[in-house]
């Protein structure tokens, strides 16, 4: 499954510009330290964090995309930094729990 498939199947909004890529597993956390210590390359990172630090963290561990849940507004500087680093920032009004349920039903599990 690719980032593009997810956007279409779940109705996620793409905020940054990025090259589509394969999604491999899901990592749910609102802590950067968790992500840096535990996320795997290709994971979809589900979070409510929107500060621009999520971009270098996402880039460092090579997640396939960041999905910001709960309809939180993502600041412009976060989106711009993500575009610069070819990091996908996706957004949804769904809460993390609901989104994770949908991802699970699509066959995406923790890797």
């Amino acid at each position: 499954m690719t980032t593009q498939d997810l956007i279409e199947k779940i109705g996620l909004k793409a905020l940054s510009k990025f090259d589509p890529r394969e999604v491999d597993g899901v990592f749910v956390s609102d802590m950067l330290s968790d992500v840096m210590a535990g996320a795997q390359s290709g994971n979809l990172w589900v979070t409510v964090q929107v500060h621009k630090s999520i971009v270098p963290a996402a880039n460092l561990v090579d997640v396939s995309a960041v999905v910001v849940t709960g309809g939180k507004e993502v600041p412009k500087d976060t989106v711009e930094l993500a575009t610069k680093h070819d990091i996908a920032i996706l957004a949804t009004d769904m809460a993390s729990f609901e989104l994770v349920g949908k991802l699970y039903n699509l066959g995406l599990v923790a890797k």
């Binding site: 950067l32 409510v48 630090s53 880039n59 090579d62």
Partner: protein
């Protein structure tokens, strides 16, 4: 010298806090790692009066080779800072610009403060850390490169930001960080 082509994994992960302390007497800043969320009570040490100005959530770890078991401790790494291009003439910004063309992203490894200009983060450990992050990523898309804090000419003016959970528990957008020192 081992001729193993090391494949690194992160081990002995320990979550904790980076405590930032500032002296109200000489304005010095220093940091240390702690597993307890200590109180920020002021305390005296010689002429210095230290108080906690920030607790950032973070973690420390070792890297270990999955083939030969060689282990390298990173307890001297306070954190990784990303350059916000705050100074045109900063060496990190120059390297960053140069590397961006090759899709290589730069982060700056910081030892605990006070950071000394003449004391770079050990180069062989930077190389291992860089290898670790590249070994686990899809390097056909892009690469990481970790450089040492001593490349930042003017710490006191740097507005780079650490990838720490600083003030993030409140889920408020933290303000732009003030210069460190």
């Amino acid at each position: 010298m081992s001729d193993c082509e090391h494949i690194w994994k992160m081990t002995n992960i320990e979550f904790g806090f980076i405590a930032f302390e500032k002296c109200s007497h000489c304005q010095a800043v220093r940091t240390h790692f702690t597993v307890d969320e200590e109180s920020g009570d002021e305390y005296r040490e010689g002429d210095c009066l230290w108080s906690r100005v920030e607790n950032a959530q973070s973690f420390r770890f070792d890297l270990q080779c999955t083939k030969c078991n060689l282990a390298v401790k990173y307890h001297d790494l306070m954190g990784l800072l990303y350059c916000t291009s705050c100074m045109e003439d900063c060496e990190v910004e120059k390297i960053q610009k140069e590397c961006a063309a090759r899709k290589t992203w730069i982060l700056v490894a910081f030892g605990f403060l006070p950071a000394k200009k003449d004391k770079p983060f050990p180069p062989h450990k930077l190389e291992i850390l860089t290898d670790y992050f590249n070994q686990r990523r899809d390097t056909t898309r892009s690469r990481m490169k970790i450089v040492s804090h001593d490349l930042i000419e003017k710490f006191s003016l740097c507005k780079g930001e650490f990838i720490h959970d600083r003030g993030m528990l409140s889920l408020e957008v933290p303000e732009e960080r003030k210069p460190l020192l």
